[in-house]
């Protein structure tokens, strides 16, 4: 069915958008490197392919006049999903161009911002490209060459968005979302202990109250223990004496 195909493609585009945003956030910081620039390039290309595929599919579906009203509403909803993804992608691409220009890699003294992030972003990129391991094969001056390509790609995306706006007559505000508020809480994949650890690190307030409570408990336990010891001692003394 056209709908399911569309949904899977949109999911993939969504994943790639999220990964691209994560990579752009790491740009210019200490986890920036040659590899990161290459990852950005690859993710971007993948995003563009997906975008073009999505667009052709959705425009074909929407142009079809012979579909039912429910179907049309569904396709409009998917169209809104698609345009929102593309907007995010476009903004991220423009920002990566600016940050890439401000923080070149090939200068004798790199001044990347010491943000505290030191790990690499290989896994994120691998997730975006849906591969197990990333292969890095780019040449040394990727940052300058890539930026020129990036400019042309941004122009392409711009043009695509303009066309989309003009040609497809979908009123975004008329679309009703299927998820209600708080829907994200219901079906998140359980992420194990690691996220709990992150919670306790980032938030100081709950940590303090938790510590206060355990301290109190410890004091109580100590008191009860000493009372029990005392009673045992007294009983033993009485037993010995009697």
């Amino acid at each position: 069915m056209g709908k399911d195909e569309c949904k899977t493609m949109l999911d993939a585009l969504n994943k790639v958008t999220a990964c691209y945003r994560h990579l752009v956030i790491a740009l210019g910081s200490t986890s920036d490197s040659q590899n990161l620039r290459e990852e950005l390039k690859k993710t971007r290309k993948k995003a563009q392919e997906l975008a073009v595929a999505n667009r052709t599919k959705l425009t074909a579906l929407l142009k079809d006049k012979s579909i039912s009203k429910d179907d049309r509403a569904e396709y409009e909803r998917l169209w809104v999903l698609f345009t929102s993804s593309m907007e995010l992608l476009e903004v991220d691409m423009k920002r990566s161009l600016e940050i890439g220009q401000d923080f070149p890699l090939k200068v004798p003294t790199r001044h990347l911002i010491q943000t505290g992030m030191t790990g690499s972003t290989t896994t994120v990129a691998a997730r975006a490209m849906s591969v197990q391991n990333m292969k890095y094969e780019a040449d040394a001056n990727i940052d300058t060459v890539d930026l020129k390509e990036l400019e042309t790609e941004i122009a392409q995306v711009d043009q695509m968005m303009e066309e989309m706006e003009m040609k497809v007559q979908v009123a975004p505000w008329a679309v009703e979302a299927k998820q209600e508020a708080g829907a994200e809480l219901k079906s998140t994949v359980s992420v194990g202990n690691s996220s709990v650890g992150v919670i306790s690190i980032c938030e100081e307030e709950p940590k303090e109250t938790v510590e206060g409570e355990t301290g109190l408990m410890k004091v109580f336990a100590g008191i009860i223990f000493t009372v029990v010891l005392l009673i045992a001692g007294i009983l033993g003394y009485l037993v010995i004496n009697l």
Binding site: N14, K15, T17, A18, R21, V24, I25, L27, G28, S31, R77, V80, L81, S84, E87, L88, V91, K94, R95, E98, I99, D102, F103, H111, I113, Q114, T115, G116, M117, T118, G119, T121, T123, V124, R127, D158, M161, E162, E165, P172, W173, A174, E176, A177, Q179, E180, A181, G182, E184, L185, T188, V189, V191, G192, G197, V198, I199, I201, C202, E204
Partner: protein, 479 residues
């Protein structure tokens, strides 16, 4: 619908924030591992996160490299934190630079404030959704409110927002330290751009502009025509010699310099600083005894005297004693005509003519023949500014003659003696806090307006044309 920043058909541009680019240069210098601020590691349970700096190191570095003194360096550092280039690790909601051992970290360039990129609502919604997942539905009150609002307004995009939030939440494959840093960074970004209630944001910039300040204006025919008209009008303006204007400015400054609340602390205390209303109460329009500062101010110029309602009342008392109140009454009536409603204008004009301008009127004012002729002619078709010439004439009369007599009169001297000079308040920290808690809204403006109207009615009744016959009759009766 999202307003995309480039294809913004609504044409909203943020004004130039030129300080941001300059701050960026400073921050890049600051974080240099060799010449910048020295970074240490932050230990959290078992993970260590590098690149942590202390407040006092930051202040010391700024003092040395930007070459300013300690207080200014602290203010500069606070601006860096307020803009979001550095974020605090402890007490993350208060964006202040503390010059002690509190820890800070640099923000990644993606989250730096840029004039072109506004913090979008879509991104904020995604962030709130992620936070919702993390905190299992328990958000701060203001965050919950924003979440509900965004859900209502961006309902058409909500599927997208939920999908993105779930995707972005899945980055568990990074190392723990990186994840912590990532979360802290994002949280710091949103505290700067969506400040919690009752905090100030450094990103407040007023209104959006219609023109993109960064783009060059196209030099079309209309542009040149506009420039030509502007320069022609500029050439035609009357010029004043700078010696004259600077002299006037210097004179103004020397006269008023003790009355400026920015230069000299106002007595008893600035209500905006100490939350204590005494200053406003002492300078209220209907106060019995004015302050020494106001009385001094009345002697500077006639305009000041008339502008201060208490001064005007005093001047009225003086004029009553001298039986020459009609000038001031006419001036006030002309002001009322100027500022009044259009519907009441013709009626007011009639009244004024009957009371002040008609030959043989009860309160006839003494203006020269030419002005009188012009005014009477204008009153046939009254408009707002028909009494302007007469009003100016009367004003100059009062200024040149009556004002100086007033300043030498016993009325003024008496009020000078009676005027109070309030002692400056010296509130301690605890008292300031208490004042802040005891803040109450002031008197309802409707009540003040009603009081004013009552006063005016009373004054009008008292100043009406004195019927000599009745007055004599009452006197005769008593006899």
């Amino acid at each position: 619908m999202t307003i995309r920043s480039d294809r913004d058909h609504g044409q909203r541009y943020r004004p130039r924030m030129s300080c941001l680019k300059k701050l960026e240069a400073t921050v890049v210098q600051m974080q240099d591992p060799s010449t910048g601020v020295k970074g240490t590691d932050q230990k959290l349970n078992i993970t260590t996160i590098p690149h942590v700096i202390t407040g006092q190191d930051i202040v010391a570095w700024i003092t040395k490299n930007v070459n300013i003194d300690n207080d200014e360096a602290q203010a500069f550092g606070t601006m860096l934190v307020a803009f979001g280039y550095i974020y605090p690790l402890q007490d993350h909601k208060k964006l202040v630079l503390r010059p002690d051992g509190s820890l800070y970290r640099f923000q990644t360039p993606y989250f730096w404030p840029v004039q072109k990129w506004k913090a979008e609502d879509t991104d904020y919604a995604i962030y709130l959704a992620k936070r919702n997942i993390r905190k299992k539905g328990v958000l701060h009150a203001y965050e919950q409110e924003e979440y509900n609002k965004l859900h209502k307004w961006m309902n058409h995009k909500w599927d997208f927002i939920v999908m993105q939030a779930k995707e972005q939440y899945q980055f568990q494959s990074l190392s723990k330290a990186d994840r912590v840093v990532f979360d802290c960074q994002e949280r710091a970004y949103w505290i700067v751009h969506r400040p919690p209630p009752q905090t100030h944001s450094a990103m407040d910039y007023g209104l959006d502009r219609h023109i993109d300040r960064n783009a060059e204006e196209k030099k079309t025919y209309d542009y040149y025509r506009r420039i030509i008209i502007y320069t022609q009008q500029a050439v035609m303006r009357s010029r004043v010699k700078s010696s004259v204007s600077l002299g006037a400015l210097a004179k103004y400054i020397t006269t008023f310099k003790n009355h400026d609340p920015f230069l000299v602390p106002c007595l008893p205390s600035n209500p905006w600083h100490t939350d204590d209303n005494s200053y406003w109460e002492l300078n209220a329009p209907d106060v019995e005894i004015p302050t020494k500062m106001s009385v001094e101010r009345w002697s500077f110029s006639f305009y000041e005297l008339l502008n201060d309602p208490r001064g005007r009342a005093d001047f009225k008392i003086f004029l009553k004693k001298e039986f020459s109140g009609e000038n001031l009454a006419f001036w006030e009536a002309a002001e009322e005509l100027k500022w009044g409603t259009a519907a009441s204008m013709s009626e007011k004009a009639e009244q004024i003519f009957k009371t002040f301008l008609a030959p043989g009127a009860p309160r006839w004012i003494n203006i020269d023949g030419r002005t009188m002729g012009l005014t009477v002619k204008g009153l046939e078709h009254p408009h707002r500014y028909v009494l302007d010439a007469a009003q100016t004439h009367i004003f100059m009369l009062m200024k040149k003659d009556t004002f100086y007599r007033y300043l030498k009169s016993p009325v003024y001297k008496e009020i000078q003696k009676k005027a109070i000079s309030p002692a400056p308040h010296n509130f301690s920290e605890a008292q300031l806090q208490q004042n802040m808690r005891n803040r109450r809204p002031s008197i309802n403006p409707i009540i003040t307006w009603q009081k004013e109207q009552e006063e005016k009615a009373k004054a009008a009744a008292a100043a009406g044309p004195v019927d000599i016959k009745k007055l004599m009759a009452s006197k005769l009766d008593r006899k």
